[in-house]
């Protein structure tokens, strides 16, 4: 049995990598990939803790998260395509219509 701290630690590291990607990458699609990394990090944490507590709740929640992640990815990519059609770019720095 792998110690809990390793699993939760890995989850934290993955989450942080995902956050860094969301904040620092310029390409919108890469930002989405980073969001997926964050979601999977959370999934890992849920499963690990579920096993630790001896309950199936963790794994059930992972089901939900995966479903939502898939739907969100679909919608998000549709938005990116729409944005690209209008602005001919997916560079986040250039998508600042809401700027003052």
């Amino acid at each position: 049995m792998v110690p809990m701290s390793y699993l939760v630690g890995l989850s934290a590291v993955l989450f942080t990598i995902g956050v860094a990607g969301v904040l620092l990458r310029r390409n919108t699609i890469v930002i989405f990939m980073s969001i997926e990394i964050m979601l999977n990090a959370v999934n890992l944490a849920f499963v690990a803790l579920g096993r630790r507590l001896g309950s199936m709740d963790g794994q059930v929640i992972v089901f939900f998260v995966m479903t939502v992640a898939a739907a969100e990815a679909a919608v998000g990519l549709a938005i990116i395509i729409s944005v690209f059609r209008n602005r001919a770019t997916v560079n986040a720095d250039e998508l600042n219509l809401m700027r003052w």
Binding site: L23, A92, L95, W100
Partner: protein, 640 residues
């Protein structure tokens, strides 16, 4: 004893409804409707007043009718209500105000027939009637002050009625401001009275209760009396606050008749009579009242002698006659003062309406040097004006004789021989300038401009003249000298109001040399006027050029307006312009308002820079917030 008489409220309700109708529907309803409602409501008020008067006569002497409309102020121990009191004194005043007021409203229908602002005119007139009736019917000092302020406001509105003319608007403002100065004194007087009573634990301004607690007022009587008097000099145009009245003549002539002759200006006299229980505590203040009245009477009469504008002569004449009323109440003859209020309302109202008739016929001409020889073509106006002139000159038998004679006699009986003498001389001056007015306007050769179409006024205007003319003749017969027929019925009627300060009826010329002196003065005045303006018309100009300095002094009204302008006016206008208008209004208040807006704008300028439009920046901030919350909870767990 008092009885409840709810119908009293109708006396106020009718003019109030008239005002509301004329203000909101007048223009839509049309001239005929306004001409019906405007005078109509005042006639209705007069009818109710008559009903109340009949009721009062049937009750024992000293009775009063009362009604409390609703409680007004309840502050700790201080209670005031909107309540009306109809005793002998307020009955007389109410009948004068509503009666003469109704007649003048009727006359206005004809006078304002070609004016496009008829609705606004009758609205203001009805509002004035309402305010004046509140003033005379109030049963406490505070409600009376409400009416007092109301008539001041309406006076301003009506003087500046044709406000397109900048001078007229200025005169209206002048009247209001001078009045306001007097009102400051009035308020201080009320507060003095209240503080004296409150120190003893009594919190009321009700007249009946004030009279009951008269003894508590003794220490402040002189102060309060003088302060209230200051207010009265503003309202009743006495020295030093009379300067607004001659300039108020720019308003429509019926306004001059109603407000500045018959009713509003008598409010000061009524107030002093109402507060007789206060004034009789302080012979000093009463002497001041009498002196101010006498000096004003003489002073105004001298100015009236040389004025050429017909309305200005009448304006100064009003100031002079009001001086007589103050002389009367100052000498303790309260009922005599009120009697002169009544007769003056009749003849002065009449004189102003006649002047209006002439002005109307001559298409706006008010300069007597451009009149003359009108008696043939305006016979009714002439006859009634003659009646009014005889009345004001105190010719025996006419109303003014009985009232003026009573005042003079009472003044002498009170021991003021000097004041009496000045009063007699002024009576002579009165006869002079009034007959001068009559002769210049109606007699002699016509100096009227050839393009004027001189015609008698329509019945809607001449009928009021005839009514007031009849009243000017017989109106004084309610108070005959001692022993004649019913004797002093008027003063007897008012006796219960004034109690121990009752005014005895006059002794009459048959039994006293006093009345004879005044009669002589009147005769001299008449003969001089006849000499100057009928017999030898070139004489006045010779005298004027001979004594030109004195003549100029009189024509320029003793330069009082110029003096006031110099002492008060310039500083007032300068400080209003620079300190208040520029400094406070533009600088401070606009500064705060605009400044608040500018501040918000500046803050916005600064904070909008956080709107980068860059989602990643927003995500970062979101992260910081989330970390903060988690850290907080971790902290809580750790510490626990």
């Amino acid at each position: 004893m008092t009885a409840q008489f709810p119908a009293l409220a109708l006396i106020l309700l009718f003019p109030a409804l008239g005002f509301l109708f004329n203000v909101f529907y007048g223009n839509r309803a049309g001239r005929d409707a306004v001409n019906l409602v405007g005078p109509g409501v005042i006639f209705l008020a007069f009818a109710i007043a008559l009903w109340g008067f009949a009721r009062l006569l049937a009750m024992p002497a000293g009775a009063a009718l009362e009604v409390t409309l609703w409680p007004w102020i309840i502050a700790g121990q201080f209670h005031t209500a909107i309540a009306l009191r109809f005793d002998a004194l307020s009955a007389v005043m109410t009948l004068i105000v509503s009666g003469v007021g109704a007649i003048i409203h009727l006359y206005s229908v004809g006078y304002m027939a070609h004016d496009k602002d008829y609705a606004r005119y009758f609205a203001y007139m009805n509002l004035f009637a309402l305010s004046m009736l509140i003033l005379v019917l109030a049963d406490n000092l505070l409600l009376m002050f409400v009416g007092w302020e109301g008539v001041g406001l309406c006076s301003y509105l009506l003087i500046a009625f044709w406000y397109d003319n900048a001078q007229f608007a200025y005169n209206g403002r002048k009247a209001f401001v001078v009045n306001r100065v007097g009102d400051a004194g009035f308020i201080l007087g009320i507060l003095t009275i209240l503080s004296a009573l409150a120190a003893q634990g009594v919190w009321t301004l009700n007249f009946a209760e004030l009279e009951a607690h008269r003894a508590m007022l003794a220490p402040v009587a002189t102060m309060a009396g003088l302060l209230l008097l200051f207010g009265a000099t503003g309202k009743s145009a006495q020295i030093p606050l009379y300067v607004w009245l001659p300039d108020a003549m720019v308003g429509p002539t019926p306004v001059s008749a109603l407000i500045h002759a018959a009713t509003m200006v008598t409010a000061g006299v009524y107030m002093i009579a109402r507060m007789h229980f206060l004034y009789t505590l302080t012979p000093d203040a009463m002497y001041v009242v009498a002196v101010i009245g006498t000096v004003t009477a003489f002073f105004a009469a001298t100015v009236a002698m040389v004025q050429t504008d017909i309305k200005r002569v009448l304006a100064y004449s009003t100031i002079s006659q009001l001086g007589y009323m103050f002389m009367g109440v100052g000498a303790g003859a309260f009922a005599a003062g009120i009697f002169h209020v009544m007769t003056h309302a009749f003849f002065k109202g009449l004189l102003f309406l006649c002047a209006g008739s002439i002005i109307h016929s001559l298409d706006g001409e008010q300069d007597m040097t451009r009149m003359g020889g009108l008696w043939r073509r305006m016979p009714i106006t002439y006859a009634t004006m003659l009646a009014g002139t005889l009345a004001i000159s105190a010719v025996p038998g006419f109303s003014g004789y009985f009232s003026k004679d009573l005042i003079l006699e009472r003044t002498l009986a009170a021991g003021y021989a000097g004041l009496w003498l000045i009063g007699v001389v002024t009576a002579g001056l009165t006869a002079f300038y009034m007959f001068r007015l009559l002769f210049l306007t109606f007699h002699g050769s016509s100096r009227v401009a050839p393009d004027k179409h001189v015609h008698e006024s329509p019945p809607v205007m001449t009928v009021p003249l005839i009514i007031l003319g009849a009243l000017s003749v017989i109106g004084g017969w309610v108070q005959l000298p001692n022993g004649w027929l019913w004797g002093g019925a008027f003063t007897r009627f008012l006796k219960p109001v004034f109690g121990p300060f009752h005014t005895e009826a006059a002794q009459g010329i048959a039994t006293s040399a006093i009345g004879l002196a005044a009669l002589m003065a009147t005769l001299v005045g008449f003969l001089l006027a006849y000499l100057f303006y009928i017999r030898q018309p070139e004489l006045p100009d010779r005298i004027a050029s001979g004594a030109s300095a004195l003549y100029q002094l009189l024509v320029r009204k003793y330069y009082v307006d110029e003096l006031y302008n110099l002492v008060f006016g310039r500083f007032l206008f300068w400080s209003s312009e620079n300190v208040l208008s520029r400094g406070v209004d533009n600088g401070l208040i606009d500064g705060i308002v605009d400044g608040t807006g500018l501040g918000v704008e500046e803050a916005g300028e600064v904070t909008r820079r956080s709107e980068t439009g860059n989602v990643q920046v927003y995500a970062f901030v979101y992260l910081l917030g989330a970390v903060g919350i988690v850290a907080y909870y971790v902290y809580l767990v750790m510490v626990r």
